[in-house]
């Protein structure tokens, strides 16, 4: 009897296992399309040299001999081509060093998971085949890399803003070699070395690379747009990274300039620049699109030595096309200000920008709740929430500051969930923890005094089951289907440490957001801030339409929409452009780049773009390397002030993994907050809704910025007094002239 029972149970389990195995491939995620099979080119497809298409601003010209596309800017009489125009005009001075310059595209492909590079000049123009056919408003050029049997179709299309170059992903064909990436028109945004020119790279706040080549090595940089893909395993983190937050780059070439915006597929792109190469005398910046998902795997060989190998997806990212939009700049706007204006207009057109529903206070205060600390009883360890700031502390601090400097203050609570700042349950349990006291008093205080109150939730990271999210089964996976475990990295060895957590699978983000919004709605607060969502991106494997982070911005925009539909305000912190432009307010705007040696001068491009579009603040002043400099940057860009504060400091908190508390003690910063708020109030009020229209350097570390309401400010970052057009400015200080 008993035996029979066991046999039944065993049989049932076997049937269940078989059924699970059979249906394991069936999920509601998009199945990947197979890659087109490479077929030999049809040589008859060709277009004669000459004009292909024109509108009232631009002419598209095709040179069938050199297989080169040229855009003529009718108004400014300038020519832009995948080959620098001065090279185009001379006879082909082709040499070994010129391969890169004469290649309208570079590709990388995988052979046994090793990356190899191929240049169109050699493998398509010389040894392969290039076909061309006219399409609406432009021309389709297909580059056949015959030896490696890969074909890449590119559409060059004239539009209102300039030339749009489209990589037609869905028509890429390959055979045994797998395409990995395509770099589009690498020399479209280029400038001749040793001229009054620079390249603009959107690293962090934005940075310039001057194109001189004497006395220094060629500078090569590469940065992924919207930061690294968190679903790719990373063993070490060598640097404190600052992500590319805007998919825009450009070149100022003496009196002319060009701005490039990655119009479609920015998540899959990286921005590459090569500056000061004396071999071909030009410096350039361009976009490279990654077409396959990859992950790194560490394995040991027979000898026991470990090695890192790259694995890749079988299929390409599921997208119709990726594109870059090139817009020439007029001589008077051939600089980064002109690029910012074009990009701002693109953002306005791309996203429906609504008027911010949140008032723009001059002071933004972030409060840190607490963190988990490790304790033990008789050697048995457990985690305990250490409270640094209670809700009543927040109320008291805000009240004290307002008494001294009456102004509207925006209050944001960070780390007030069940695990504090640490990652525990998804979104910190989706509620304000009672461990910090009762939140009713604070909510009422903010409501009574009309102060916007926001709560920050991390809806991506989690380390514990809860709120319908399970530790493993709901985690994001990598391209090789292993769990994309997230780590923090040691400051001394740069290696990942033992503490791990997960990012939630992308298919769950909307569900979590809906649940969170429903819960937060009950608190009667102004809105939410989702810092991690705004400043992180990752892939959604195995869905091919979510390879290489593709579509993450749509997820974010959708979450913000959901909040807005429920009348919740949204603060974006350190936000990528898509989150920033859809938010009510942007806090934590970057003020520096990722600090590559190749970068010459960091600029506040991010602030120049978003100032006037949305209320903005720079990163918290008390967290800055140089708080006074950060304050001056805020003044220069008309950004509100931001501080991050906590109420208590003790040795327990110092044992938390989190170092934020040691720089944020309220009693240390109170006087500074009040004095800086008083000093900046009049100026910030005056330029509240104004755009930045001009920024000029008038001496070393001295800048004069003009706003759209004609207000001007001269900021002196240097250590000596400087004379400026609007008066003398003391060292580390500023003066301003109010506008209309």
């Amino acid at each position: 009897m008993k035996r029979c029972f066991y046999i039944r149970i065993l049989s049932f389990l076997l049937v269940l296992a078989t059924a699970t195995a059979c249906f394991s491939g069936c999920s509601n995620s998009k199945t990947a399309k197979a890659v087109n099979k490479y077929s030999p080119p049809d040589g008859s497809l060709t277009v004669e040299t000459g004009k292909v298409f024109s509108n009232d601003k631009y002419v598209l010209i095709w040179d069938n001999e050199k297989k080169c596309v040229i855009m003529k800017d009718i108004v400014n009489e300038t020519y832009w081509s995948s080959l620098p125009y001065s090279y185009y005009l001379v006879e082909d001075p082709f040499g070994a060093g010129m391969v890169r310059m004469y290649s309208p595209i570079y590709i990388e492909y995988l052979v046994n998971n090793n990356i190899r590079t191929s240049y169109a000049k050699i493998d398509a123009l010389n040894d392969g085949v290039v076909t061309a056919e006219k399409i609406d408003n432009g021309i389709r050029v297909t580059y056949y890399f015959t030896e490696i049997e890969i074909s890449i179709p590119i559409d060059y299309v004239i539009c209102e803003s300039g030339l749009e170059t489209r990589l037609i992903v869905e028509k890429i064909a390959e055979k045994s070699n797998k395409i990995y990436s395509v770099s589009l028109s690498p020399f479209m945004c280029s400038a001749k070395n040793n001229t009054d020119s620079y390249l603009f790279v959107p690293s962090g706040s934005g940075t310039l690379m001057y194109v001189d080549d004497t006395g220094r090595n060629t500078r090569v940089i590469s940065e992924p747009v919207y930061g690294r893909d968190n679903s790719v395993s990373t063993e070490e983190k060598l640097y404190n990274e600052s992500a590319v937050m805007m998919p825009v780059y450009g070149a100022k070439s003496e009196d002319s300039g060009i701005c490039a915006i990655i119009n479609r597929g920015a998540e899959c792109a990286k921005i590459d620049a090569e500056v000061g190469n004396s071999e071909y005398g030009y410096s350039s910046v361009y976009a490279t699109f990654l077409l396959r998902g990859t992950n790194n795997l560490i394995v040991k060989n027979a000898q026991g030595n470990q090695t890192q190998i790259m694995t890749s997806t079988d299929n390409l990212v599921d997208a119709d096309y990726f594109s870059v939009l090139y817009t020439p700049l007029s001589p008077d706007k051939a600089n980064y200000m002109g690029m910012a204006e074009i990009y701002r207009n693109w953002l306005k057109k791309q996203y429906k920008i609504s008027k911010s529903s949140v008032k723009s206070p001059s002071l933004y205060l972030n409060f840190l709740g607490g963190a988990l600390i490790n304790k033990n009883i008789f050697g048995i360890s457990y985690n305990d929430l250490c409270v640094a700031t209670t809700y009543s502390n927040v109320e008291k601090m805000v009240n004290e500051i307002r008494e001294e400097s009456p102004s509207t203050v925006s209050v944001r609570l960070v780390g007030f969930g069940e695990s504090g700042l640490d990652i525990g349950e998804i979104a910190g349990g989706m509620e304000l923890s009672k461990a910090f006291g009762s939140s009713d008093g604070l909510i009422e205080y903010c409501d009574t005094n009309n102060l916007p109150l926001f709560i920050d939730f991390d809806i991506l990271g989690y380390s514990k089951n809860g709120n319908g999210i399970r530790r493993f089964s709901d985690a994001a996976v990598a391209a090789n289907k292993s769990y994309a475990v997230q780590y923090h990295y040691s400051k001394s060895t740069y290696l990942k440490n033992d503490y791990s957590y997960f990012f939630v699978n992308r298919s769950k983000i909307q569900e979590i957001a809906e649940k969170l919004i429903k819960k937060v709605k009950a608190y009667n607060i102004s809105g939410i801030s989702l810092s991690s969502l705004c400043s992180t991106s990752y892939s959604g494997y195995p869905d091919a339409s979510a390879y290489n982070k593709l579509g993450f911005k749509d997820e974010v925009v959708s979450v913000i929409e959901k909040g807005k539909n429920e009348n919740l305000g949204f603060i974006a912190d350190k936000a990528f452009d898509y989150a920033a432009v859809n938010s009510d307010c942007i806090i934590g705007c970057p003020t520096s780049s990722s600090g590559f040696d190749g970068y010459d001068c960091d600029i506040p491009f991010y602030e120049i773009v978003f100032k006037g579009l949305k209320p903005i603040t720079v990163s918290p002043i008390n967290y800055a390397i140089n708080p006074q400099k950060q304050f001056l940057t805020a003044m220069e860009t008309g950004s509100s002030l931001s501080f991050t504060l906590s109420n208590d400091w003790n040795k327990d908190i110092s044992n938390a993994e989190f170092s934020a508390f040691q720089f944020s003690l309220y009693e240390n910063w109170k006087d500074e907050i009040i004095s800086k708020d008083k000093k900046s109030k009049e100026w910030l009020e005056n330029v509240k809704d104004a755009f930045i229209v001009d920024r000029r350097q008038i001496a070393d570390n001295v800048y004069v910025t003009t706003f759209s309401n004609k207000a001007r400010i001269a900021v002196n970052y240097s250590s000596s007094e400087i004379k400026t057009p609007i008066g003398n400015v003391k060292a580390n200080d500023f003066i301003y002239v109010l506008g209309e």
């Binding site: 001189d212 004497t214 006395g215 220094r216 090595n217 063993e235 070490e236 060598l238 640097y239 404190n240 795997l297 560490i298 394995v299 030595n305 470990q306 190998i309 490790n374 008789f378 050697g379 048995i380 360890s381 457990y382 985690n383 960070v414 780390g415 700042l421 640490d422 990652i423 991390d458 380390s463 090789n480 923090h488 040691s490 400051k491 001394s492 740069y494 033992d498 503490y499 791990s500 957590y501 810092s531 912190d573 350190k574 520096s592 990722s594 590559f596 040696d597 190749g598 390397i625 006074q628 950060q630 991050t644 400091w649 040795k651 934020a660 508390f661 040691q662 720089f663 003690l665 240390n668």
Partner: protein, 712 residues
Amino acid sequence: MFIRTKQTLKCIVALLFCITVICSASISVSAQEELQSPAYTNYYYEQRGDEKVLVEDRPVYGFETVIDGNSLKIDSFFHVYDMCDSKNGNIYVLDSGNNRIVVLNPDGSLNRVISEITLDGRKFEMKEPQGIYVSDKNEIFIADTEGERILICDNNGAVKRVMKAPESDLIPNDFKFNPIGVLIDNSGYLNVLTRGSYYGAMLYDENYEFVGFFGANSVQGTVLDNITALFNSVFETNKKKAQRVRKIPYQFYDFDCDNTGFIYTISPSDKGQIKKINLKGSNVLRLKKGLSVISGESYNFADSSTYVDVSGHKLKHTFSKIAVDENGYVYALDTAYGQVYVYDDSCNVITVFGGGLGHGDRNATFVTASSIVVVNGKIWISDYEKNSITVLSKTEYGDLVMNAQNETVLGNFDAAESLWNEVLKYNSNHQLAYRGLGLSAINRKDYDAAMKYSKMGYDQETYAAAYGQVMNRFLNNHLWWILLIIVSILVFVVIWFSRPSKRDEYSLKKSSEIVTALKMCAHPIEVAGNIRAKKAGSVIVATVVLMLYYLSSVSVKTWSGFMYTLPAQNFNLLYALLGSVGIVILWVLCHWGVATIFSGKGTLKAIYIVTCYCLIPLIIYNILFIALSYIVVPSSTSFVDILSMLAYIYAAMLLVSSLINIQEYSVAKLSGVVVLSVAGMVGVAFLLFMTFILGQNFISFFANIISEGLYR
């Protein structure tokens, strides 16, 4: 009743195990709210007793600029080996690849280029020079390494004197003169470092006559090294001995001289990398670790953790260059990691910054950092591969920290106090600030504040000094009351125990097993006899005693007073268990095994019981220690230390006397068996360790098969 107790005990043990496993939870932190960091890392180490804890910090030195051929409008640098500063603050850059010297002004602008070195008006070719020094007389000393000479030039690069290898009996025959560093000390003596020399620096007098070697490193050996050496000397053949690589001292890689005439040297060793050498040639660096002061020779100045790349290769910390500023701060350059460690004279880490691990392509990160110069609050670091010089200047915060530490070291506590308070505004977790404030408070006789600050700064010495004062004050004020209470308690105890009717009710009397255990402390021979003959001992009581010993041992580490024990940052339950319960069990097993061979009469059970019973004095000591650690000030002849010694001796005596009885051994025989038991313990521990390693490899093997499967 007995069965129930046994079951309860089982339940408790099982519960403890489960809790241990379940509660070893980890913490993961969100990275959203962070200090705004530059590309390079900035941190320092808190010294918590023996433990070094990494603390993130604001930059003490901020990236200012990169100087290269482009910024100076000259041909690119090519392999800058060394730099030095002159008396007027100019920086001399030895651009070895270009055979030239580039002189920079203190602001980083170009002063001039000494494009060629001349001898008698003709161009003089240097051969990969690796060291440069400019004397107060503006003479340029160049260590022409491959040319095997030192060139003494005037300020325009005209060679005045060429110094070749000196001829002296002090110099060994196989000595190769490849100078890599030159320095003139405060006495006017010329010091020369040569490549591959482990004899120390070569010393020349004012007339450049060789006088001898100075301050050589010594070989640091562990006990294990010495045992191995002894073993080898006995068992190895002469041929094998000849083939063995001899352990030689590390050579000095660089040196610098401070204002007071001490010479600082740097070596790529694992410990004692930085040395401050006095005229006698001895290292005078000392470091405070908790209540003790240790020599700088045994301190690892680099990070204790190591970077391991994806191929599994470890990157060794390699200190290669050193600079000392006018305030005595030492700047040690770790070429492998691209980091600069800044230490004060007492081996406190002020900051560690930089990075790159040989791939640095960001600001203030390096590929091969080749030299370092510190002048007027600016640090100049050259990169051999990047052909550039990175300049960092002291930040406002850095100024505060270093000025405050200067004032503290000089004993200007009032001035230091305000500076430290300002430091805490920027970083509430600054150990040196709390230590400095503790010293300031003790200086102004505010002992309560001194205790508070020194506790925050993990400074047990200052805490104990302040506590001693507070205790004195308390005793002075309340001595009569305290004496009265003590006498009252004594009287009460005497009366209580002198009542005969009550003694019978004493609860412990009811349990003979517990009484037996307690009796062990007073009558070990009798109890051991009873355990052997009458089976009087109880395994359960023994296990409870063992658990109590474990709990008391853990409590000593976690609950003792700050003066004696620092709160453990990472308490390891496994180590604590192995260190208490593990050792006892191992001892019992090994002793039983050995004793069985040597005709011992004791059973495993009896040995276990007596061993556990003998732990009672240690338990009492542990409890007493916890109480006393809050009251008694530690000193070199502390009452607590004597108590500790007595407790261990007493426990050992109990064990010996009871084992003699249990095993029916003579003292001599027991001694032999104990030695063999201890040897057995070492052997078993080694086997367990090997099994653990094999197990790890086994697991790793399967993990790799799974990874490989995923990859396929």
